[in-house]
Amino acid sequence: MLQIQILIVFMIIAAVIAVESVDLLGAVVSVGAVGLGLSIAFLFLQAPDLAIVQLVVEILSLIILIRAVGIKNGASAVRERRFIGTSAVVICLGIFLIFAYKSLLEIPRFGSPIIGVAGRYLMQSLKETGAANVVTSIILDYRALDTLGEATVLFTAVIGVLAVVRKIGRKSKE
């Protein structure tokens, strides 16, 4: 677990840099570093499926942010410090952390879930679906309706983007 803690510290530092950096390009690259750290953390937690997806999506989003949206090497917008807003956020975060500490003590230990269906999946998935990869057998056989919903969400997102940035019907500025 030591590696994951080191990775989490690295990710927190990168996230703080991404928020506090004045340089926009540097901030975007720091966001990418957070994603890559998360991908390596998934590998340490023995979830290679998630690690591949996280790595690949992170690369694509980084390319879209830098290249397509067109973030140039420039300064970000000026931020003012407001005392009241910052203190309100800190108080809310403190309350959240107190309750999170109390509730996180109650959850079962890592590796011993209370929901028994996972064990059944691990035992039966090869026989029932024929897929050697348990993750695929769950997302495309046992929980295929979830995957259908996710595909619909992505489809709607693509249609939305294509409708917003389409060139037909756009009025030219004069």
């Binding site: 690690a51 690949v56 390319i63 990869n133 695929t136 997302i139 056989d141 995957t147 940035v165």
Partner: protein, 158 residues
């Protein structure tokens, strides 16, 4: 881009596309699957576009073709789901072969073989088409928006 980037891209872009297809086809055997493989396939086209410019990538896959492929993937996924209704329920794995000698239910093909697991590889291919074409379409649309925005900005400056 420079000559170095173009030369390297000429060698690597096919390998990236091939790796994406491998991830998709072996989604039921090794880590990966339709989503990750589709994004890798989209990334190979994005790679081509970054190195050689917009026109070369559009020549390989136009915006309209990407839209058609995305719709095709979505319809294929739904069709596989509905074909399960012919023998069972929604998303029923209909490539099922019942072994009469035993009560166990078996599938076409054996475990750990490429052609096994019934509808799962087909679903992976459908999701790959949907995700890859959709993300590439988004990328093309956003770069076009940026080019338009730059042109408008220049016009305003003049």
């Amino acid at each position: 881009m420079t000559l170095i980037v173009k030369t390297i891209t000429r060698y690597t872009v096919g390998l990236i596309l091939l790796f994406g297809i491998y991830i998709v086809l072996h989604g039921h055997l090794t880590p990966g699957g339709g989503f990750a493989g589709g994004v890798i396939v989209a990334l190979s086209f994005v790679h081509l576009m970054l190195a050689f410019g917009r026109e070369t990538a559009i020549k390989k896959m136009s915006e309209k073709a990407a839209g058609i492929l995305e719709g095709l993937g979505a319809i294929m996924f739904l069709l596989i789901a509905f074909m399960g209704l012919t023998t069972g329920y929604f998303f029923y794995n209909f490539f099922r072969r019942v072994d009469t000698t035993e009560t166990l239910v078996e599938y076409i093909g054996r475990p750990f073989a490429l052609f096994s697991a019934g509808i799962i590889p087909l679903c992976n291919i459908a999701i790959c088409l949907k995700v890859g074409a959709g993300l590439f379409a988004i990328f093309v649309a956003l770069t076009f928006l940026k080019m338009n925005g730059d042109a408008a900005g220049d016009g305003e400056k003049k």
